[in-house]
């Protein structure tokens, strides 16, 4: 007995378990506490011995534990009376307050020994906290898993199902009992039965199980027409790919939309192509018509010129030969009209010719001053008649790239215009500026000037700035011809005027010739 008591004492003194005895009465007190109590809770033995254990207990637990103890120990008491044996009853948990006021979780067993109760308790505070932490993580995971739109299935590396979310069951129409009974084989069969190519899927999953670190993704086609997208990634536990997460998403609608979009795009492209062909056809039609128009104008002009010849040649003779003034006056009117007609026909043909894409234009090195002088000579009669002074500032060395015949025509038209609209005794100033790439030539008169509205139209065919003037001098085609000529030679033509009565200046540019010698 002595030896055995010593043995038990030694055990009690050295174990990390908490061992204590209390009296078995309505107001129990501690009769023994092991040294491990001090280690854990900080109380000296005499701070506990003689005290009521309920003082150290959590107030919420007192009643529950009292009832538990009473019930169990009473039964045990009866049993032990019969069997004379000590038997401990079910484990229970309780909380105990340390000296510093902190609560510890204990897992306890109680035994009735004689008239005392022996409690053996274990500190489970840490595991209790872990459990709480785990519970909260678990709850969070569950909530997350069940709120996402993807069906999630977690399997271990042997293909056994570890976890799935509700969406997974919903997507795969999995019967409740298969999930509840964790029937792995049935679940797999159920899944395989739904997809079009089960063997392929099986092989893939097998391959994934054999290569736990792989990330993969593919498309599953269902017998019922649905399409799932599958993602798969390893689940690492302490750095090892210990499980695999499969994520399924129903993309049937998306695929359908994609197909529709593609169809629409194809349709649009077809329409576009058709439209392009149509536009091309129309463009070529228009080009053909334009060519026909130019050809027609050219032909008409040509045909009109021939009968004009005799009129122009013979009317002056007739005028001279008729004796009376009245007839002379009539013939004078005829001559004026025939001359105008001749001008119109000549210019129209010229314009049609310039419009034609087949008209080629030379690009010779031309001395600008020579051409100006020639054009001035051509207009010398009207210059003298109107007593107009020419100030020609063009430098004799300026060379341009141009077609000589058209360049003279251009100058003729511009000088003719300047003279026509200049008052008697006024001045026409001609200048040329070399800005490296282009030569800008300007012809400035002190004539009737132009409004802004007129400036924007003077290069249009048959436009006359002064529409009330149906003078026979003007065909309304001179400036359009000038524009075509300048355009064809890669230049630009424009007019400036400060307003009516303030004169006008006409500018045009032509590519300059650089003499590199």
């Amino acid at each position: 007995m002595q030896i055995s008591e010593n043995k038990y004492r030694l055990i009690a003194e050295n174990t990390s378990d908490l061992i204590c005895t209390t009296t078995f009465s309505s107001k129990p007190v501690y009769t023994y506490v092991s040294p491990s109590y001090k280690k854990l809770l900080g109380y000296e033995p005499d701070e506990m011995i003689g005290k009521n254990p309920f003082e150290f207990m959590h107030p919420d637990e007192r009643e529950k534990i009292t009832l538990l103890l009473k019930k169990n120990l009473r039964i045990k008491n009866k049993q032990s009376l019969n069997k004379k044996e000590t038997e401990h009853f079910e484990r229970y948990e309780s909380q105990i307050k340390s000296k510093s006021g902190k609560w510890y979780y204990l897992e306890n067993t109680a035994n009735l020994i004689g008239d005392e109760i022996l409690f053996i308790s274990k500190d489970i505070t840490e595991s209790k906290h872990l459990e709480e932490k785990f519970a909260s993580i678990y709850a969070l995971t569950e909530a997350t898993l069940n709120s996402i739109e993807n069906g999630i299935l977690v399997i271990d590396n042997k293909g056994k199902v570890l976890k799935n979310n509700a969406k997974f069951e919903e997507l795969w129409h999995i019967p409740k009992e298969i999930i509840e009974h964790k029937e792995n084989e049935k679940l797999i069969d159920f899944i395989l039965d739904q997809i079009i190519n089960p063997e392929q899927f099986k092989t893939k999953i097998k391959k994934l199980c054999n290569n736990p670190e792989i990330y993969s993704q593919d498309i599953l086609n269902f017998k019922d027409g649905r399409i799932f997208e599958r993602f798969s990634r390893p689940v690492f536990i302490k750095g090892t790919p210990s499980a695999r997460l499969l994520s399924f998403r129903d993309i049937t609608e998306r695929k359908k939309t994609e197909k529709e979009i593609q169809k629409t795009q194809e349709l649009l492209q077809q329409m576009n192509e058709k439209l392009e062909i149509k536009v091309k056809d129309r463009t070529s039609d228009i080009e053909k018509l334009l060519r026909q128009k130019d050809e027609f104008v050219n032909q008409l002009g040509h045909d009109l010129k021939n009968p004009l010849g005799p009129l122009i040649q013979l009317l002056p003779i007739l005028k001279k030969d008729v004796p009376d003034e009245k007839s002379k006056g009539i013939i004078e009117i005829l001559i004026r009209n025939v001359t105008h007609m001749k001008n119109l026909v000549t210019k129209t043909v010229q314009l049609a010719h310039l419009n034609s894409p087949s008209t080629t234009i030379c690009s010779d090195n031309i001395n600008l001053l020579n051409e100006i002088v020639m054009a001035l000579e051509n207009n010398s009669q009207s210059l003298i008649k109107q007593n107009i002074t020419i100030i020609n500032n063009i430098h004799e060395n300026i060379m341009v790239k141009a077609d000589e015949i058209y360049l003279i025509e251009l100058f003729n038209n511009l000088i003719n215009n300047a003279v026509k609209y200049s008052p008697n005794g006024s001045t026409i100033t001609i200048n040329a500026i070399d800005d490296e790439e282009f030569i800008t030539t300007s012809i400035k008169d002190n004539g009737m000037g132009l409004t802004n509205a007129q400036i924007s139209h003077i290069f249009d065919e048959f436009y006359k700035a002064d529409s009330s003037r149906h003078d026979f001098e003007s065909s309304g085609l001179g400036l359009p011809i000038c524009k075509r000529i300048v355009d064809k030679q890669g230049g630009r033509i424009w007019a400036e005027s400060e307003g009516l009565g303030k004169g006008s200046t006409f500018y045009f540019t032509l590519p300059s010739v650089k003499i590199n010698k």
């Binding site: 040509h302 010129k305 010849g309 005799p310 122009i312 001279k320």
Partner: protein, 133 residues
């Protein structure tokens, strides 16, 4: 400038008869006997006249656009004949034709745009004939 000793012989080849007649009248009206005007209303007629005439024209005014034998063909025939080769030719065209202009410069001696003014015609003729001298 005028060569008073001998009137100039001008041959005009144009299928438009009125053209020829009016030029003839205008020429006679303005310059009287200074010029002798011969007209041919086709290429064939022109060649025939050249072949048969005792005296060749001093200058030929040749319309390029004619039916059957075009002005170009007539031009080639004239230039191929060693007797006629020296006769200066002025092309006549109603078209604003770059080729005619160029051809006038290089092969013939000048070119004229229809409708022709009589003073202009004579100016050109004198220019060509003077150059020839």
């Amino acid at each position: 400038m005028k060569d008073t000793s001998k009137p100039k012989r001008i041959m005009m080849v144009d299928d438009k008869k009125d053209q020829c007649s009016s030029i003839s009248i205008a020429l006679n009206d303005k310059y009287g006997d200074d010029y002798i005007f011969i007209s041919a209303d086709s290429g064939k007629k022109c060649l025939l006249l050249l072949k048969e005439s005792e005296e060749l024209p001093d200058i030929i005014i040749l319309d390029l656009m004619m039916p059957e034998m075009s002005g170009w063909e007539v031009f080639d025939k004239i230039r191929d004949n060693p007797d006629w080769r020296q006769i200066p030719i002025i092309f006549l065209t109603a078209r604003t034709d770059r080729i005619a202009e160029t051809a006038g410069e290089f092969f013939g001696n000048d070119f004229l745009q229809k409708p022709i003014g009589i003073e202009d015609l004579i100016k050109r003729i004198d220019k060509v004939l003077n150059k020839k001298k």
